[in-house]
């Protein structure tokens, strides 16, 4: 067979453009054969090719045993290929590694440095607790190796060992500490140790506090920026524990900030000061403020001076962290931050946007929002419009087309900005209403169909990513409900949006924006119909035939609004002759619209449509009378349906604060023996003979009628088919028997709460269930004793909730904003018991790529006598491990034999194209020599029986 090198493979790949997959498959087949040869050169080359193909997603997990073989090669370069194969292809479920324990031990203590490095850099990828335990002594010994290259790798390797086997850290830490404290130690080793400590630091900061002086020394004296960055990162986690540290650190850090030319170090210093909480304390205020000013100044410099987008980005990132504690300092940098809102880079814009939300005050809100609105307008406007406005020198860059998701993000941020703290920052609500109307027009048209939609599905944040359109509609509704002062404006804005002739401009055809906005808006025009400019026109828009195609979530809101607006129309126009005919006409149109929805597939829509349809038909009928006056139904009854108490906003948490009456038991089961009850119910019962005929009628459509006939006419002789017998067993029984069984059954279920006795017999007394309840409660349920909490809905405006406001001044707004209504219970229990969503378990779901270091958190380092694994424990562990190794080795051996005999698919499986390769497999099998495959099968069966003999505990 022709033997290819990796070079040939790559070259061949190029020569087979278009047919790459076939080429790869054939190469994989070759590799499969080559890797089984005894020739180590061939084996290693084949493995190298497999590793290369694995990079493109071609599975090579089947070759793990061969990886081990190559790892054990005597030649270094081959060995390296083997170790690389282990790094790239071993997965948590790869078991063969246990077989390699001895090999790894041997390689770790070898004399050649490159050889020794291989296990050290490979182990972090493949380490398991048992492997860590057996290799620990050997790895520890490498800490005192003469070469710094080995020492630094060993330190890191030990860190990864400790992640899966925390005990390792107890033994390793004293030694690592020695290296860290040693002034004579090689710089690389110290840096590696610092890097490891930095990883461990945030998990167990207390253990590293004693080392602070040494870190300090390294920070000041080393002159190594890489290490300095890490030390500062480390200090940021230590300072919260030791306030005295901040005082010591302040000077050197300021010194670095003022002198260093390395931007990364400068940035990390500032970041460290922020994250370490150095700016947060109370004492020494003046110095702190100086530092804060210095930091913010430097950050401003990073944004302004350099055109480097990276610096801009990280500076904004840092400002975002400061803004919580020093909002005034940050808002002084407003000008540059605002410029970042127009930056060409989306990442920078988003950061600036976030910052804007954090620092905005009522003075700056309007300019910021207007600026963002401008941006949105530019994004949605065609390029021609930009030519008209060349004077906007602020943004000389050519505005690129922003992705829709950025535009949506901006809309969300605008809404966040304005609605934060219950609209406390908004002075001019009329302006806000106008903004909302503008936003509707600026929404990117195809929100639902762009290619980000499948990303959103994965982003499981439905609340945050609520449909933008719906959110705008909801905002308009919120303003209308909460701010009485602009209710008229809000209603008129809603009105303008709901007009049919306006809709085409706001909602381009084919987009789904309208669906979200229209629902809440329809509610507003209905609820506050008295403010409408033209109720008549609004009503006609509401009953426009095109509305019938709206989604079933929106339609009920329309339906609810129609009668409200109709009442308004009927009341505003002058009663008289024409009035009557006008109203009849209008009613006829409304009724026509409703009739169209009376058969709507959505039940909610259907129900509402039919209800109002009937009411309005009555109204239409009442108009046909000859009297001149307004019919009572129209003048009073229908309006009464919708007037009454005004609706106020209620906090979503209010319901959970309603105190449950003590006697209400929601947790207690009705019966403790549910399964038993159901079992009894399952048995066929003659009691059902009452319903027998009906059930028979429904369930045995074909048979029942002749059956019934046969029973009725001639039960004995006329039974034409034997099969009917089965069905006629019960009817053949005499009626007395039925009666008897019925009684039996009733007796049996007398105390069964699920069984309601026929009313005829129990003569109207309470059901057994009721009785059971009564007896268990001890007394008759007293409904009056359930406390009723006064909801105080009638009160005018309830308190405004300013709790969440930070150190902000009270709202400047002249208008009163109604806060959410809720209960002011002193009962804090009600608050805490409220589920907080996912916040309670932030780490419940592990992120991809995450290395779990949590096990280190509960390990105690240092002080006590350095714990040794007791000899006994170690021995038994070792014995167990050896046993496992032996088992796995056996299994692997069998598996490899099986592969040879059975001729498993010669080609590998491309993971991302599973189906395709599977077909290949099938076809390959087909061409196999039948006799061989027969043998294979036989052997396989043998294997199976062997396998089944294995002790069950093996897995």
């Amino acid at each position: 067979m022709f033997e290819k090198s990796l070079y040939d493979l790559i070259k061949g790949l190029r020569g087979h453009k278009g047919g790459e997959n076939e080429y790869i498959q054939s190469s994989l087949r070759e590799c499969k054969a080559e890797i089984k040869t005894q020739d180590m050169d061939k084996k290693a080359t084949a493995l190298l090719k497999l590793i290369y193909l694995e990079m493109f997603g071609y599975d090579m997990s089947w070759a793990s045993f061969h990886v081990l073989e190559v790892m054990s090669s005597a030649k270094y370069l081959q060995k390296r290929v083997g170790y690389l194969g282990a790094v790239q292809s071993f997965r948590p479920d790869t078991e063969v590694l246990m077989l390699a324990t001895n090999l790894l031990k041997k390689d770790i203590v070898t004399s050649s440095i490159p050889n020794m490095s291989l296990p050290l850099i490979t182990l972090p990828h493949v380490i398991t607790p048992s492997l860590a335990m057996s290799l620990l002594p050997d790895i520890l010994s490498r800490l005192s190796h003469s070469s710094p290259v080995v020492r630094k790798k060993t330190i890191v390797c030990l860190y990864r060992l400790a992640l899966v086997y925390p005990e390792a850290l107890k033994l390793a830490w004293p030694k690592i500490k020695d290296h860290l404290m040693d002034d004579q130690e090689d710089g690389s080793v110290t840096t590696a140790a610092i890097n490891v400590v930095c990883e461990l630091g945030w998990r167990r900061p207390h253990d590293f506090l004693p080392l602070a002086p040494r870190f300090f020394e390294l920070l000041v004296d080393s002159g190594n920026n890489w290490m300095a960055i890490k030390i500062i990162k480390l200090f940021a986690t230590l300072t919260p524990l030791e306030p005295r540290l901040t005082r010591k650190l302040l000077r050197p850090l300021t010194n670095i900030i003022q002198t260093t030319s390395a931007m990364s170090l400068l940035y990390e210093c500032i970041n460290g000061i922020i994250q370490g909480g150095i700016l947060d304390g109370e004492d020494n205020l003046q110095e702190r403020d100086e530092v804060a000013t210095l930091c913010v100044g430097k950050l401003r410099g990073m944004i302004v001076m350099d055109s480097d987008p990276n610096l801009k980005y990280v500076a904004l990132l840092a400002l975002n962290r400061i803004v919580a504690t020093h909002p005034t300092l940050v808002s002084m940098q407003q000008d540059v931050i605002m410029d970042c809102l127009d930056d060409a880079d989306v990442s920078i814009r988003l950061q600036a946007l976030e910052l804007a939300v954090g620092m905005v005050s009522s003075d700056t809100l309007q300019p910021v929002v207007n600026r963002l609105l401008n941006q949105l307008q530019q994004a949605s406007a065609p390029a021609a419009e930009l030519v008209d406005t060349p004077q906007t020198s602020e943004s000389p860059k050519v505005p690129t087309l922003w992705p829709n998701d950025y535009q949506i993000e901006v809309v969300h941020r605008i809404l966040d900005l304005c609605s934060q703290n219950n609209y406390s920052e908004i002075v001019d609500f009329e302006w806000y209403v106008a903004v909302l109307v503008q936003l509707v027009g600026l929404l990117p048209p195809s929100e639902s169909e762009d290619d980000w939609s499948h990303w959103k599905e994965q982003e499981a944040m439905p609340n945050l990513r609520m449909n933008t359109a719906l959110r705008i509609g909801t905002e308009i509704r919120n303003v209308a409900v909460r701010v009485k002062g602009v209710r008229m404006e809000a209603t008129r804005a809603a009105e303008s949006l709901i007009f049919v002739d306006n809709r085409s401009t706001f909602f381009p055809s084919g987009s789904t924006i309208g669906d979200g906005v229209l629902g809440p808006i329809a509610w507003v025009v209905g609820e506050y119909a008295e403010y409408l400019l033209s109720p008549n026109r609004t009503l006609l828009s509401l009953i426009d035939i095109s509305n019938a195609s709206l989604p079933s979530t929106t339609l009920p809101l329309f339906l609810q609004a129609i009668p409200k607006v109709f009442v308004q129309v009927s009341q505003t126009s002058q009663p008289g002759d024409t009035w009557k005919s006008e109203m009849s006409l209008l009613l006829a149109r409304v009724v026509e619209f409703l009739e169209g929805l009376a058969a709507h597939p959505d039940l909610d829509v259907q129900e509402r449509a039919i209800e109002f349809l009937e009411v309005l038909r009555l109204a239409a009928e009442s108009l046909t009378s000859d009297t001149q006056e307004v019919p009572f139904l129209l003048a009073s009854v229908i309006p009464e349906l919708f007037t009454g108490l005004e609706l106020n906003p209620v906090a979503t948490s209010a319901q959970s604060k309603v105190v449950l009456p003590d006697s209400l038991r929601l947790e207690e089961p009705f019966s403790h023996d549910l399964p038993g009850l159901f079992r009894n119910l399952d048995s066929p019962s003659p009691h059902e003979s009452k319903s027998w005929e009906t059930s028979e009628f429904y369930h045995l459509p074909e048979l029942s009628s002749p059956n019934k006939q046969s029973r009725d006419l001639a039960p004995v002789d006329m039974q034409p088919h034997a099969s009917y017998q089965n069905f006629t067993v019960a009817p053949v029984d005499s009626s007395t028997a039925v009666q008897r069984r019925m009684l039996e059954r009733r007796e049996r279920f007398k105390d069964d709460p699920f069984y309601i006795a026929p009313s005829g017999d129990s003569s109207g007394t309470s059901t057994p269930f009721h009785e059971a309840l009564n007896t268990s409660n001890g007394e008759v349920l007293d409904i009056d004793s359930i406390p009723i909490v006064d909801l105080k809905l009638g009160d005018e405006l309830s308190h405004v909730d300013f709790d969440r406001q930070r150190n902000r001044r009270p709202p400047v707004s002249k208008l009163v904003v109604a806060g959410d209504e809720t209960f002011e219970t002193s009962n804090s229990l009600a608050d805490t018991s409220r589920p907080k969503g996912g916040d309670d378990h932030p780490t419940s779901k592990r992120s991809l790529l995450q290395v779990d270091s949590s096990s280190l958190g509960n390990l105690s380092l240092g002080n006590g006598p350095s714990p040794q694994i007791s000899a006994d424990e170690g021995d038994t562990e070792m014995a167990r491990a050896m046993q496992q190794v032996e088992e796995v080795r056996l299994r692997m051996q069998r598996a490899s034999e099986r592969i040879q005999l059975e001729g498993t698919p010669a080609e590998g499986t491309l993971v991302k194209k599973k189906k395709k390769t599977k077909r290949h497999v099938a076809s390959d099998r087909a061409v196999e020599d039948p006799t061989e495959s027969a043998i294979g099968k036989k052997k396989k069966r043998k294997k199976k029986s062997q396998e089944s003999e294995k002790p069950p505990g093996e897995n």
Binding site: E54, M55, P124, V126, V314, P842
Partner: protein, 184 residues
């Protein structure tokens, strides 16, 4: 720590994948694809930080600025036809990571003498060896180019160089490689 180092070309074809946690091949591939999509969208003038792709943002609940085990930052840098990506947790400094990528590329440049994409394709093992001298188990062990080069040379003897030269000197002349990007 650094969770993964990736290198792919302008067409999204991987040139180096190194995950410091064990991850099944399929997830690796989809992660690469997602990151490639993010990188491909960005103009050259944009900053070198990527938002988290969907696969990673799922588990990252860290709204807090405090450190955690979950990867929170992706730093990338593009050189000619190749993009170098580092996925890391918050214990790494973003600006330092950009420098680290620079060190990596410079080291490769020293190893291959005027490194180009083709060198990395053929010098696949050397590429891994260089990375292995810089990052072990997700922790940076060396940033000094001299030391990195010395260690890799010690491993390979004269071999690494020879391979690259051989690759360049055979029928596929290094200078004349149209459509290099479409290579696998």
């Amino acid at each position: 720590m650094i969770n993964a180092v990736l290198v792919f070309n302008n067409n999204g074809q991987p040139r180096l994948t190194k995950f410091y946690t064990q991850l099944d091949t399929q997830t690796q591939q989809s992660l690469i694809a997602q990151i490639y999509r993010l990188v491909a969208q960005r103009p050259a003038s944009a900053c070198n930080f990527l938002p988290l792709p969907p696969l990673l943002s799922q588990g990252a609940s860290s709204s807090a600025s405090g450190p955690s085990d979950a990867p929170t930052q992706i730093t990338y840098r593009t050189y000619a036809t190749l993009s170098f990506i580092m996925i890391s947790t918050s214990t790494e400094s973003p600006l330092a990571l950009i420098d680290l990528i620079q060190v990596f590329v410079e080291a490769l440049d020293r190893m291959f003498e005027n490194v180009c994409e083709l060198d990395l394709i053929f010098g696949y093992e050397t590429l891994h060896a260089v990375l292995g001298e810089m990052i072990v188990g997700g922790v940076v062990v060396e940033t000094n180019i001299e030391k990195i080069i010395a260690a890799v040379r010690a491993q390979e003897g004269s071999l690494g160089k020879k391979k690259a030269v051989q690759a360049a000197s055979t029928s596929l002349g290094r200078g004349a490689l149209p459509g290099l990007g479409a290579w696998r």
